[in-house]
Subunit: 228 residues, 2 copies
């Protein structure tokens, strides 16, 4: 591999994220148990989120609006306004979560920075992702942060165009096969998958990935053996 | 002036925006007239928006959440859920508005592109601003779009760093003295103010601007006389 730029996904690759969303979702589902069983509310919320992605994109604000819309629909517009207020508070709590780095990340970035140009490539709300990078204390390791409205092939082509390199010199590292791996391989780049124990259903794919430019590793620490 | 890069603000500089927000705000205030007079609801909404900027940043999704929070507060949490549903619909309508270019913009960009590198520098929701640029048909005139979480001096320093130029070769054009002019002048860049007939209260300043690197023009068409 003649890698020049390594892009790291942020949520659940550098730091804990999905865990917090699941906690918020659980609390939200519990609020609506007068109307539907917990798992049915979760299903309704997921349906709302999928419908809303083309309008809102990814991130906490869209998640908040999807909770509110789900509460209205599930209750046939009879929801107690206190439920709406709580959903908003769950969202604001998400924005205020401390950053919990994944194991070994900082040491790995410290080593990789000596040899590669590192960037962050993430979906989500602009301000929220910038703030998380700042709070993480990891900003110094990265040339910059690219916040992408989506992570499809065209989005990666644009990113790699900005970086002024050929795809063959680009490596993406992330926890989502769908967003961090498949589109990058499709345009000629390299990808490493480091699974996180919890994956949002929207990011799941149902087949294995095999490709000469692809590797799966158990943890960030394993990157050093492959890249140094 | 030895300008190399010209950055255009988007909303109310390239296309109509504030007009649509005001229409949504008017409809929202009318919904709450059982609780408070129209102008008092508007004041409450503005207060909520200001409180929320540090959490949500700028854009339609934050505006939607601020409408919902205002409805909860003004009604002492007794709001009819139908009002919440309508506020969400007003927000979704904003995301679906057609793009109405300001007078003369396309011809001006066509001419300026021959001599300068043009970029868009805007606040707001990532996906929404990208979508508006695409719908506008203006994307071909711009090297790229920079969506900024805020437009303070530090944000412009970052932008100009990315552009790999000195501030003295940078010109910002926009409708907000507060966001498009003052911070750019403060870091050594050039700025041109083209007022729009409606300005969000948060963007208003109460003093005149005088600076050797500053000009105020009545319309985009006047740019050609100054820059070609």
């Amino acid at each position: 591999m003649s890698i020049q730029v390594i892009a790291f996904d942020a949520d659940d690759t550098l730091w804990v994220n999905e865990t917090y969303f699941r906690e918020a979702e659980d609390k939200f589902c519990a609020l609506l148990e007068d109307y539907l069983p917990h798992h049915s509310v979760a299903k309704e919320l997921f349906y709302t989120e999928l419908q809303n992605i083309p309008h809102y994109g990814y991130g906490v604000k869209g998640f908040m609006l999807s909770m509110i819309e789900t509460a209205l629909r599930v209750s046939d517009k009879k929801i107690d306004p206190l439920v709406i207020e709580k959903a908003i508070q769950y969202g604001k709590d998400l924005l205020d979560k401390p950053i919990e780095l994944l194991d070994g990340i900082e040491e790995v970035l410290h080593q990789l920075k000596k040899k590669y140009r590192l960037v962050v490539a993430t979906k989500g709300d602009l301000l929220d992702q910038e703030r998380k990078l700042k709070k993480s204390g990891l900003a110094e390791y990265f040339h910059h942060i690219e916040i992408m409205s989506d992570k499809r092939e065209a989005d990666y082509r644009k990113l790699i165009g900005h970086l002024d390199i050929d795809p063959v010199h680009f490596l993406m590292i992330g926890n989502s096969l769908k967003s961090d791996v498949l589109p990058v391989l499709a345009i000629g780049g390299h990808a490493i998958h480091i699974p996180y124990h919890t994956t949002w259903a929207h990011e799941q794919i149902d087949h294995a990935v095999e490709h000469v430019n692809f590797r799966e590793l158990a943890s960030a620490r394993d990157l050093l053996g492959h890249l140094l």
